[in-house]
């Protein structure tokens, strides 16, 4: 059974807003120290549209979340997370199954590759979302396995060398830090798992 959209939205927004300092700290190590603040601004703007978003069917709601992030984030993460939510909104049916989610997320990952001109192992959010899409496409993706995969894949960005974005200016010095976008993706995945498990 699909979880209520209001709880999903509130949990996602609360987790991202609460993680703002952590994400900004990660970004200050290898980027321009704005990821946490930008994502906080974006999700505060989404919450300002909460009533309008919740009045829409799932697909339209996700598209509105994506468009709000595009307009309000103010960094590259706006178009990137915007593309993620807008693609999910376009591809997901009203009552999505895990297979629907795997397919939609797979398409979102392709859209993100195009948007960021990035690929796997470039030390980006793709390193979390790509493996997740593949994992969901498998036969038995438990919530515990999804959580573990997201944590493991975010951690796997630590030894990677950044190829894209501001972190790529650091070259080898980007090695040894977790990618902030991989971490924010992991936080969102955890938030969705918590809602599905009734822990939020």
């Amino acid at each position: 059974m699909a979880p209520p959209l209001d709880l999903l939205l509130d949990t996602l927004a609360a987790r991202i807003i609460a993680a703002a300092d952590e994400l900004t700290a990660l970004d200050s190590a290898i980027g321009d120290a704005d990821h946490g603040l930008n994502m906080k601004r974006g999700f505060e703007a989404v919450q300002a549209e909460r009533a309008a978003i919740l009045a829409k069917p799932l697909g339209e709601a996700l598209k509105t979340i994506g468009m709000t992030l595009v307009m309000k984030v103010g960094g590259a993460s706006g178009p990137l997370y915007g593309t993620l939510f807008m693609t999910l909104g376009k591809e997901l049916p009203a009552e999505p199954s895990v297979a629907d989610l795997a397919r939609a997320l797979g398409l979102a990952v392709e859209a993100l590759k195009a948007r960021g001109k990035a690929d796997f192992d470039n030390k980006t959010m793709l390193d979390v979302l790509g493996p997740l899409a593949q994992h969901l496409a498998g036969s038995d993706a438990s919530l515990a396995s999804v959580r573990a995969l997201a944590a493991e894949r975010a951690k796997a960005t630590v030894p990677m060398k950044a190829i894209k974005g501001r972190a790529s200016f650091l070259g080898d010095r980007s090695i040894g830090h977790m990618d902030p976008g991989a971490r924010s993706s992991q936080i969102m995945i955890e938030a969705v798992c918590d809602v599905l498990e009734g822990k939020a």
Binding site: D32, M71, G78, R166
Partner: protein, 128 residues
């Protein structure tokens, strides 16, 4: 009518300063739009502001956008995609340094260069 120029920087001050330099070079004969800063006015870029700058610099001969760092390019690409397709086809992002590129691009536009010429002239700066 000439090609229009749009300057997108993370910093409102850099965007305005680059625009001032363009104006000094070509006066008011080249349509010019510029923007900088995130939606709160801090360092960053904003799709909304980029769309407004494109609108301000709009020319049927085309619009060349100069950007500074990563997010400026990603947000500019996003802004372009939000426009109708016939407009999209008339907008290019130049792979060039934002200040020098804007001045070079505007000078080429002022001289009557096509969108292709303007982009090429700005990008010659990067080839060295």
């Amino acid at each position: 009518m000439t090609v229009g120029i749009v300057i997108v920087s993370h910093s409102p001050d850099v965007a305005k300063g680059a625009a001032d330099m363009v104006r000094q070079m070509v006066g008011n004969e080249v349509p010019l739009g510029f923007c900088g800063g995130n939606p709160d006015g801090g360092l960053g870029t904003s799709v909304e502001k980029i769309l407004a700058a494109i609108d301000q610099a709009w020319s049927e001969d085309g619009v060349a956008i100069l950007v500074d760092l990563g997010g400026a390019e990603t947000n500019s690409e996003m802004a372009i995609e939000m426009l109708p397709e016939d407009k999209q086809a008339k907008i290019v992002i130049c792979n060039a340094p934002v200040v020098e590129g804007a001045v070079m691009a505007a000078t080429e536009a002022w001289g009557g260069g096509s969108l292709h010429d303007v982009k090429r002239t700005a990008e010659e700066l990067s080839a060295q």
